[in-house]
């Protein structure tokens, strides 16, 4: 899992060192950041350094790495330094040494061995668990909540598939607005922003993080400590699905956080026993990385797609026809953003990706890359199988991919230049004189001799010229 796929984690990289030092005080946080954010090689470095009694000279580390992999090594070290996990410092006699930062190494060791009294992995509830709360119920709950949010975002475009009474709570709506995912003014075509579109086209896990990070930023404004919020989220990520945890042992701020998390569908609190909370799959997979998500994908899909049993459901052909095996109104709504849907069957919709539909999407602020990545992440197993059979070729038909990009570039051909239009000249002679002058000083952009008009970027010199002509 390379770092690039984790746009939402860029937020963490921007944090100052002091924040990291505080974050790393919780073993669960140290473990989660280690697991989720590091490149693979960096993990090996950390583990090798973890129980080393003396600092490791940088030269030794270089020797350990294969000479051909210098680039990977440098990347790994750079990442480790950005996250304040290692320090590289000059020892007394010159050679640079690598050490893990104290807070991080202590916490990670605690996480591996257990012990201490940090309670950062959640206190399970000892009360009697009420019957009927199983993973199925939790999955359904999470799905309902999350789809409610997504529907709200999609429907701000105006595709009328919104069932009343299922929408997210007011707080969530405000959050979506604050994060610029939707705008309130529901004038034509408005409502959803470019950020909102990219949000829709992300993978579920990334969506959850995007929303959570928005929430964290907002929490800062409301006076909550972002470190506490983050630590709590990382703790949630280390909990076990289908187990009851105790709310009474949580700190005051953490208990406040539960309410919005219930709105997001990350946490479920049964009405009958408010002292217990159940993390849902959305929460427990927070700190899993992409490959882990894949292995639990069957369960995760159950949580996030209504009927389709497999992850991929889109087939796109070289003639731009698109078949999507889904009946989820949400997925259809997303597809409708950039395809011209023509027919709908009980388990499938079909349509075409056309120049118009793509241009419409682009005018909403969706980029061609987003469309392509959405199509390829949701590609039907048949398409995947074909690409594997061809030795790992492209999943989508190359012509379609190229054409979608071309359609986007088409729009980019237009270049706006601020400037001034000169027209309504009295005579052809005057027009020609001014035009020639503009050409000579190099400000002329466009001219039409028939209409006696021309367009320039700057007008000061030309104005003086015209004045001097008039006075002549």
């Amino acid at each position: 899992m390379s770092v690039s796929s984790l746009k939402s984690f860029e937020y963490l990289e921007r944090l100052p060192g002091t924040t990291f030092r505080r974050l790393y005080q919780q073993p669960s946080t140290a473990l989660a950041i280690f697991r989720r954010m590091l490149p693979h090689l960096a993990k090996s470095f950390v583990m090798a350094l973890l129980y080393m009694s003396k600092p490791l000279p940088l030269t030794d580390l270089t020797l350990w790495v294969h000479p051909n992999s210098k680039r990977e090594k440098d990347q790994a070290l750079a990442m480790l330094r950005t996250l304040h996990m290692v320090t590289i410092s000059a020892g007394k006699e010159g050679p640079q040494v690598v050490t893990l930062t104290d807070n991080f190494s202590t916490s990670l060791r605690l996480a591996l061995t257990g012990g201490g009294n940090h309670q950062s992995f959640g206190v399970p509830s000892s009360d009697q668990v009420i019957g009927g709360i199983d993973t199925k119920l939790l999955d359904e709950y999470a799905r309902a909540q999350w789809e409610g949010i997504l529907h709200y975002v999609v429907n701000s475009v105006g595709a009328a598939m919104y069932q009343e009474g299922q929408g997210p709570t007011q707080a969530v709506k405000q959050l979506l607005e604050a994060g610029n995912l939707v705008t309130r003014g529901r004038h034509t075509g408005g409502g959803i922003t470019q950020a909102g579109f990219s949000f829709l086209l992300q993978e579920a896990n990334a969506q959850v993080w995007t929303l959570l990070l928005l929430w964290i930023e907002n929490a800062e404004k409301m006076g909550m400590d972002s470190v506490e919020v983050l630590s709590f989220l990382f703790m949630l990520g280390s909990l076990e699905l289908g187990r009851a945890y105790n709310t009474t042992t949580l700190q005051e701020t953490q208990r406040e956080m539960l309410t919005p998390l219930v709105d997001f569908g990350l946490v479920y609190i049964p009405n009958s026993s408010p002292d217990q909370f159940f993390p849902t799959r959305l929460a427990t997979t927070l700190t899993s990385d992409a490959s882990a998500l894949r292995s639990v994908s069957t369960g995760f899909d159950a949580a996030l797609t209504a009927d389709s049993s497999s992850k991929g459901f889109i087939i796109i052909e070289t003639n731009y026809r698109l078949y999507a095996y889904t009946s989820s109104p949400l997925q259809i709504a997303v597809l409708a953003l950039f395809t011209k849907l023509t027919a709908r069957y009980p388990n499938m919709v079909s349509g075409r990706v056309t120049r118009n539909s793509v241009r419409q999407a682009i005018s909403h602020g969706i980029t061609s890359d987003q469309i392509i990545s959405y199509l390829s992440t949701h590609a039907h197993p048949q398409l995947l199988k074909k690409s594997v059979a061809q030795g790992g070729g492209p999943v989508l038909p190359p012509t379609v991919v190229d054409q979608i990009r071309l359609w986007q570039i088409e729009n980019e051909r237009m270049k706006a230049t601020p400037g001034f239009l000169f027209k309504d000249f009295d005579s052809l002679k005057e027009y020609e004189g001014c035009r020639t002058y503009a050409e000579e000083i190099g400000v002329l952009l466009w001219k039409s001799d028939a209409k006696r008009m021309f367009f320039v970027t700057r007008h000061e010199q030309l104005r003086d010229y015209i004045k001097s002509r008039k006075t002549k």
């Binding site: 669960s28 129980y51 257990g114 570039i409």
Partner: protein
């Protein structure tokens, strides 16, 4: 317009794909040699309890690297090979779990770690308590071959079920053939070995080795004591790591540094190597390690001395022994007489005449 030229974004797409996929999860099967005789000898430097504690931290570290990583532990005991984790289904008792609930509910420990620790310790205790004196006195070695076989069969099962669940686009056969980049579940075996000679299990061990080699499963050997020829060969054949610890107290650091990186990282790291690999084999008749032996020309069985009546013990082929033991006849080299023609040398030292000459 060049920017939309086809070729470059195919690559981009492939790269993008791999960045979504990330490194595939790995399965680590640890074979712990629990031979009581060997651990008794080691008790002064590294008691079993301490070693197990170190191995547990190592297991946790492995699981920490990727949340989809899996682990399995087999004990190769003196008279049988036993699963320590995951526990085989028939022997699991629900009543057993209740006793340890207090430890599992500890909020200071990541639950998956706590689960494994609990399982492992419990089943190890079970194993030790069920070992009778008779078992110990009857043999001094360990069931390494059995344990390796268990490990291999588990890996096979795990990778099949993994490729089923992950996606149908990754056929399991893919990892068997070709490709430098293994797809699907990456598995490896780590053997923590303390026993010495395993010559009596030569054939089964070599069979598992070749099976692992074919499945591209590295067998790493961590040798705490003793010395075995065949485990060296196993790690060499499967491109695993072989390490003999000089001071076993530093077990954890060795584990973390040398044995934790999986196949993906190992491509970037310089692995510790063994300078000399002992390639000797054991004979099929007396299980003796031999330097020079006799090989059946039909079935390639190895014998330390010619079998009785020159009949192969494995395939019953009647073998003609030739004149074994006779001194090889030395044929004296014929001296070449150098002829001299007109004082110039035209002997064999000269090359074939070139047509133009």
């Amino acid at each position: 317009m060049n920017a939309v030229d086809g070729s470059d974004h195919y690559e981009k797409e492939v790269e993008g794909k791999s960045s979504i996929t990330g490194p595939s999860p790995s399965l680590l099967v640890i074979v712990i040699d629990t031979n009581p005789h060997a651990w008794a000898l080691l008790s002064r430097t590294l008691p079993l309890s301490k070693a197990i504690a170190n191995i547990l931290v190592f297991i946790n570290a492995h699981l920490a690297i990727n949340s989809a990583n899996q682990v399995a532990v087999v004990a190769s005991h003196s008279h049988r090979a036993v699963w320590l984790y995951p526990r085989p289904p028939p022997s699991s008792e629900d009543v057993d779990m209740e006793d340890h609930a207090s430890n599992l509910d500890n909020a200071n420990k990541y639950r998956p770690f706590a689960l494994i620790e609990d399982f492992l310790i419990t089943s190890l205790r079970n194993l030790i308590s069920t070992t009778t004196e008779l078992d110990i006195s009857s043999t001094t070695t360990t069931q390494m071959a059995g344990a390796l076989t268990l490990a291999l069969s588990y890996i096979n099962k795990a990778s099949l079920s993994f490729s089923d669940t992950s996606s149908s686009s990754k056929p399991a056969t893919n990892s068997l053939e070709t490709s430098d980049i293994p797809t699907g579940l990456q598995s490896r075996i780590l053997v923590v070995s303390v026993s010495g000679d395993l010559a009596h299990q030569y054939i089964p061990i070599m069979n598992t080795t070749f099976a692992a080699q074919r499945l591209r499963i590295p067998i790493d050997i961590l040798k705490l004591a003793g010395d075995t020829v065949f485990l060296q060969q196993a790690s060499d054949a499967t491109k695993g790591i072989y390490m003999q610890l000089r001071n076993p107290q530093g077990l954890l650091q060795y584990l973390m540094m040398a044995f934790l990186p999986d196949q993906m990282s190992r491509k970037h790291l310089v692995a510790p190597t063994q300078e000399v690999v002992d390639f000797r084999a054991a004979c099929f008749c007396h299980r003796r390690v031999v330097d020079v032996g006799f090989v059946c020309s039909i079935c390639l069985s190895i014998f330390c001395s010619p079998p009785e009546g020159a009949i192969c013990l494995t395939c019953s082929t009647h073998l003609a022994l030739g004149d074994y033991g006779a001194k090889p006849a030395v044929i004296p080299r014929k001296k070449k007489k150098k002829r001299k023609l007109n004082g110039t040398d035209t002997g064999s030292g000269r090359g074939t005449p070139v047509p133009g000459e």
